[in-house]
């Protein structure tokens, strides 16, 4: 919204304007014929039809202006919260929470937006309808084009339903805190799209879990006593060394008021490890003593703390109760996530060298509470772990801490995945690999190859990948989709292939086989090896090489492998089948061979 000079108005002015417009609109709504004389209203005096229509139009314009202004404010809030999150569920939840918070803060605007706008004239109703349609489209992002479910009207119904609930609450004289509806409404919203499990999860989720507010690091350090990343002594040491560089341990302890010499040494050592201070002692001196001074990172952190402390009038002379610790493991985790975003908690633990993933999980939760890291989850996949990234504050702290060794190379595959919308599941990766190996497969063919038995799940997965721009449906006619990788999909698939270590590929391959067949049959392995080594064999020839006596057993085995999309029959004439591996079969056979070089060949 812009003022008369064309400059953007401050949010406060916008809010004041909205309040005034809504007050005026309420007056117009409650007293629609204010300004008309009693004689006119009683029908004793004639008034032209034009005058009445002008009046009604003015009233409608007033209501519309108030609605637009209130809508602009709530949209701005919701949109910012929505954009701040990753993943459909978190975005929707964050947007909803922002709307509910706004409504709680401004009940008059809320009533106007939700309740009174429904009672207005056609112009407002039309605008209201447009807004609802837009919201439905946001939700409908989850309803994939390749799916038959949920039904087409779901998004509109969900939006209308949520609005109906708010309408009901806001129609009451005391609507209570609308924020409390976040969980129940989210549960209702996600149910048709993600199922009962996700709906129950939303109900249990804490209300402030998706708040888009990210705290600044130094202020967080000062405000969060005893929770790992804060330590008033650290701050004091920073201040002391900023004022007097080159002090030794004892001098720093004296100025910082620390009596415990051992404790002071530990603090200094930790700060040095974190790259905040450095020891500039001269080893050639006859009496070598430590001489501490701030590093560039230390100076930056000290300056940031100084700025924010001044801004918030927090004195550095902190109370005794303030006893946090700058936990080196927390910093390590921060660094790991900074070096490679979008890792899962387990991966973070692995890279941070933590033996106990539960401890890392706790630490991540705490860092998230401090606003240093944020997580996103691909909510389409049930039970998917969170993927972590640094917030702006986390990045600031990470860069302030400094580093002694260069960061490890980042995973291109992970970055590409995240650019396309989040971490991909194993199934999604399998779909990419299958599509790369055999372009032009239909839904069912892909499902068969990646071992997904549920038709809807397969459609959902394909549609999600299509929405991310990784695959595209090139069907021009007929009943079946024709999927192939897009340029982005090819790039990602290549990166995944290059970065996936052999044991990982082997595990995926074995999992695929287990999923397909229920168990890893040695005959399957042998048959794959035989067909891989000698393409074009018939049933009998394969049976001979694998050592199967019954023709029926051989047929069943080969039919099963064909059904799983691992082999295909290239017979064009004659009585004998002509078997060879499909691209998936080749991949699987190669992976098995990598694990066990003798597999599949012993029978020959």
């Amino acid at each position: 919204m812009r003022g008369r000079d064309g400059a953007a108005d401050s949010p406060r002015i916008e809010l004041q304007r909205a309040r005034k417009l809504v007050t005026a609109a309420e007056a117009v709504r409650q007293f629609p014929f204010a300004g008309f004389s009693a004689a006119v209203l009683n029908g004793d005096a004639r008034v032209s039809r034009r005058a009445v229509e002008d009046h009604l139009q003015g009233r409608e314009a007033c209501l519309l202006a108030a609605f637009e202004q209130a809508l602009a404010l709530v949209s701005e809030r919701a949109s910012a919260a929505f954009q701040a999150q990753e993943g459909w569920v978190d975005r929707v939840r964050s947007g909803l929470l922002a709307v509910l918070e706004f409504f709680d803060e401004h009940p008059a605007l809320a009533r106007h937006c939700v309740v009174h706008s429904a009672q207005a004239g056609p112009a407002v109703l039309q605008r209201r309808g447009e807004v609802l349609d837009r919201l439905a489209r946001v939700l409908d992002d989850e309803r994939a084009p390749a799916r038959g479910y949920p039904p087409p009207l779901t998004a509109q119904a969900v939006v209308s339903g949520a609005l109906g609930v708010l309408h009901e609450r806001l129609s009451q004289p005391d609507p209570g805190a609308l924020v409390e509806l976040t969980g129940p409404l989210m549960s209702f919203i996600v149910l048709p799209f993600l199922g009962a499990h996700a709906a129950r999860g939303e109900l249990r989720r804490p209300v402030d879990a998706t708040s888009a507010v990210e705290h600044s690091v130094p202020f967080g350090l000062l405000q969060d006593p005893g929770k790992g990343l804060s330590h008033h002594r650290t701050v004091l040491v920073l201040m002391v060394l900023a004022a007097e560089p080159g002090l030794n341990n004892r001098e720093v302890a004296l100025r910082a008021g620390v009596k415990d010499g051992g404790g002071m040494s530990r603090i200094l050592a930790r700060m040095a490890r974190l790259g905040l201070i450095k020891n500039t002692r001269d080893a050639r001196s006859p009496v070598p003593a430590n001489a501490w001074q701030l590093t560039a990172s230390g100076e930056e952190l000290q300056a940031a703390i100084g700025r924010e402390a001044a801004a918030t009038r927090v004195a550095f002379d902190l109370p005794e109760a303030f006893r946090g610790r700058l936990d080196h493991r927390a910093v390590l985790v921060l660094r790991v996530i900074g070096d490679q975003p979008w890792l899962t908690g387990r991966e973070v633990a692995l890279r941070a060298g933590a033996k106990d993933p539960a401890h890392i999980s706790k630490l991540l939760k705490h860092l998230a509470g401090l606003g240093l890291v944020a997580s996103a989850r691909d909510a389409h996949r049930k039970g998917t772990p969170n993927a972590w990234r640094l917030t702006a504050s986390g990045v600031q702290l990470d860069s302030a801490i400094g580093r002694e060794t260069p960061p490890p190379p980042r995973s291109l595959a992970l970055d590409l995945m995240w650019e396309s919308g989040g971490r991909l599941s194993d199934d999604a990766v399998s779909v990419l690999r299958v599509s790369a190996a055999e372009p032009g497969l239909s839904n069912n063919e892909i499902a068969l190859r990646v071992g997904i038995t549920d038709e809807n799940s397969m459609s959902q997965l394909l549609a999600r990948l299509a929405r991310r721009g990784l695959i595209e449906n090139t069907r021009t006619g007929g009943r079946y989709n024709v999927w192939q990788l897009t340029a982005a999909g090819i790039e990602l698939e290549t990166a995944i292939r290059q970065e996936t270590p052999a044991p990982g590929a082997r595990r995926i391959a074995f999992d695929l086989l287990k999923k397909r067949g229920g168990r890893l049959n040695h005959r399957v392995v042998s048959a794959l090896g035989v067909i891989g080594a000698e393409p074009g064999l018939s049933n009998d020839e394969i049976a001979l090489r694998v050592g199967i006596k019954g023709r029926g057993t051989t047929s069943t085995l080969l039919a099963r492998l064909a059904r799983f999309g691992l082999i295909e029959n290239n017979r064009t004439g004659g009585r004998e089948n002509v078997w060879q591996l499909t691209a998936s079969g080749i991949e699987l056979e190669a992976a098995i061979r990598h694990e066990n070089p003798g597999a599949g060949r012993s029978a020959r």
């Binding site: 009604l56 429904a118 009672q119 004239g121 056609p122 109703l125 309808g129 609802l132 038959g148 479910y149 949920p150 039904p151 087409p152 009207l153 779901t154 509109q156 119904a157 969900v158 939006v159 209308s160 339903g161 949520a162 609005l163 109906g164 609930v165 309408h167 009901e168 129609s171 509806l181 129940p184 409404l185 549960s187 209702f188 149910l191 048709p192 199922g195 009962a196 709906a199 129950r200 109900l203």
Partner: protein, 199 residues
């Protein structure tokens, strides 16, 4: 009743705002004096119209109800009866929905009707598995969603039959209570439209 019918006609032609007493009386062929003998004002007339409509809807839905049937079939029968009525009386439905939201007196009545419908829908909790545990706002949300869709179709002056929306609506209603499989079943269930004798 002639005046109520005239109100529906005038409101559909000129909009509710312009449905003045003089116009309604003229359309009904009565004097404004007669109008004011029967109603206090225009709003009173609209409220009477809604009362009449709610009574008719209750009667139709009640007639379709079979207490021995399952929850799904009862809800389906009731919804079908309601949609058929709305199809038959589209202008009346449009007017009722618009006025029910605009009039504070009718809002209370609307809330009572919605409460009753919410309770009926929420009986689905007993029909489904206990472990399913539908969201607490399921009934309210589902009802709001269904009404929103009906309202949108009526407001957009969409001439398609509302009965066509029965399956998608039923799918939405049963989903929280009976799960996706039952919802899919409802979506593809054949429509069996009964016609009620008018009047």
């Amino acid at each position: 009743m002639r005046i109520l019918s005239a109100m529906v006609e005038v409101a559909s032609e000129h909009g509710t705002e312009s449905a003045t007493v003089a116009r309604v009386a003229a359309r009904a062929g009565v004097s404004t004096g007669t109008f004011y003998d029967l109603f206090e004002n225009r709003d009173d007339c609209l409220t009477a119209l809604i009362d009449e409509a709610v009574a008719t809807a209750t009667k139709r839905v009640g007639a379709a109800d079979d207490p021995q049937a399952s929850w799904v079939d009862r809800v389906r029968a009731g919804l079908l009866a309601l949609l058929e009525l709305l199809d038959e009386e589209r202008e009346l439905a449009r007017l009722c929905i618009a006025h029910a939201l605009a009039s504070p007196t009718v809002l209370t009545q609307r809330r009572d009707v919605l409460d009753k419908l919410t309770r009926i829908i929420d009986e689905g909790r007993r029909a489904g598995r206990a472990s399913r545990n539908p969201p607490p706002l399921a009934a309210q949300g589902v009802l709001g969603g269904a009404l929103g869709l009906i309202h949108a179709q009526l407001s957009a002056r969409d001439q398609r039959s509302l009965v066509e929306a029965l399956n998608p609506l039923m799918s939405l209603v049963v989903l929280p209570y009976l799960g996706a499989s039952a919802a899919r079943k409802e979506q593809y269930r054949p429509l069996s439209v009964r016609r009620f004798a008018s009047g």
